[in-house]
């Protein structure tokens, strides 16, 4: 490529400058993606929570009739989903996705403890026996919990999770639905609320978000 050169001076040919810039850009990109920690805002399909406070006390009962309190959220990462066993679509599908996530994480991580908790917001129908049958179907290590509604609210209100038993539209067989937040919540090993992940849930997305959360929180 001919360059305009003023007689008596040497100028770097344009194409060399161009190559130089590209090399610089590639180098910068490479170092950014390989060595840089995830962006400060931790891009996940949801919201990262400022986990600076402990949760206020709550007490739920799991499918083995054991207490599920703040203590049970400590010492491990937790994925928590709210629903009810009479939910045919969103709940079973999400639990299936969580099972895929559980199997993948089990393969990869070493000493990390991760637990998966299904919180039923329909204590009227979801007895401990019902919960045990339900949760076993998805993964024998998963936990299902519930409590009377006032106690449930003590947990959900702190998390911005909503649910509503809709008995206005009961059918002739007295079946009712429960509207509920469809997010997956992540709690860190201090038992604090760390992230809110948006529906719809997909195993690959959840695994990526979990990795981002771990990297971002340096835990």
């Amino acid at each position: 490529m001919p360059t305009n050169q003023t007689p008596g001076r040497t100028t770097i040919p344009v194409h060399w400058i161009f190559i130089g810039l590209i090399a610089l850009a590639v180098g910068a990109w490479a170092s950014f993606s390989v060595f840089q920690t995830p962006p400060a805002n931790g891009q996940i399909s949801g919201t990262l929570i400022n986990a600076s406070t402990d949760l206020k006390d709550f007490k739920l009962l799991d499918h083995k009739r054991q207490a599920f309190t703040n203590e049970q959220l400590k010492g491990r990462w937790s994925f928590v989903f709210f629903g009810y066993t009479h939910c045919p679509d969103v709940c079973p599908n999400t639990m299936t996705v969580l099972n895929v996530v559980a199997n993948e994480l089990k393969k990869k991580t070493t000493n990390d403890l991760v637990q998966y908790v299904f919180v039923s917001v329909d204590p009227e129908r979801d007895t401990q026996e019902q919960l045990a049958e339900f949760i076993k179907f998805f993964n024998k290590d998963f936990i299902a919990v519930t409590a009377p509604i006032p106690e449930l609210k003590r947990f959900t209100d702190q998390l911005g999770i909503l649910f509503m038993v809709d008995k206005n539209n009961m059918d002739k067989n007295n079946r009712y639905v429960v509207d509920h937040s469809a997010h997956i919540l992540v709690f860190n090993p201090q038992g604090r609320f760390q992230a809110l992940l948006n529906y719809p849930h997909d195993a690959r997305k959840l695994l990526a978000d979990y990795a981002t959360i771990r990297a971002f929180t340096n835990q």
């Binding site: 009479h86 939910c87 045919p88 679509d89 079973p92 049958e133 076993k136 067989n173 937040s181 948006n198």
Partner: protein, 154 residues
């Protein structure tokens, strides 16, 4: 003679038109998601195509193997999952509707016996369209992670 021929031809055309106006709906990928053995409710999904030049209304479904089947739609409203009952659904002319996870689905209520993966369930789709009436379909029970079946049944 000509008049008779015209009448006959017109009748033949009318007859053929009437018959072809009611082509059967085509159901495919009809499956029911397996659940815990004690589950009283299971979700089912399918694809339905309407080859006719007129819309066809799907009124209801039933199965001898379940007490009742309802149509519902999952609606996500500001992060909250809700279910809206669907009393009838119109399949557009030359159109296609998909019942899939997170959207329209069938709710199979109270199985008459255990339902497990691999089971074949008889399903009857009821339409409101003259000449169509009911359509018998076969659904297969599958685990959630398996690929959707492509069985075509009328």
């Amino acid at each position: 003679m000509l008049k008779l021929r015209i009448i006959l031809t017109a009748s033949a055309i009318a007859l053929v038109t009437t018959v072809s106006m009611a082509d059967e709906l085509k159901f495919s990928s009809v499956w029911i998601k397996s659940g815990p053995p004690t589950a009283k409710i299971l979700a089912g999904y399918l694809v339905v195509e309407n080859p006719n030049q007129q819309p066809v209304t799907l009124q209801a479904f039933r199965s001898p193997q379940f007490k009742a089947i309802e149509m519902h739609e999952t609606v996500i409203d500001a992060g909250m999952a809700r279910m809206r009952p669907v009393t009838s659904i119109q399949i557009p002319a030359a159109g296609r509707i998909e019942f899939k996870p997170g959207g329209l689905h069938l709710m199979f209520l109270e199985p008459r016996g255990t339902v497990k993966t691999g089971d074949k369930i008889i399903l009857v789709a009821e339409t409101l369209t003259k000449g169509l009436g009911e359509i018998k379909i076969e659904a297969i029970v599958k685990d959630a992670t398996s690929k959707t079946d492509h069985s075509h049944h009328h």
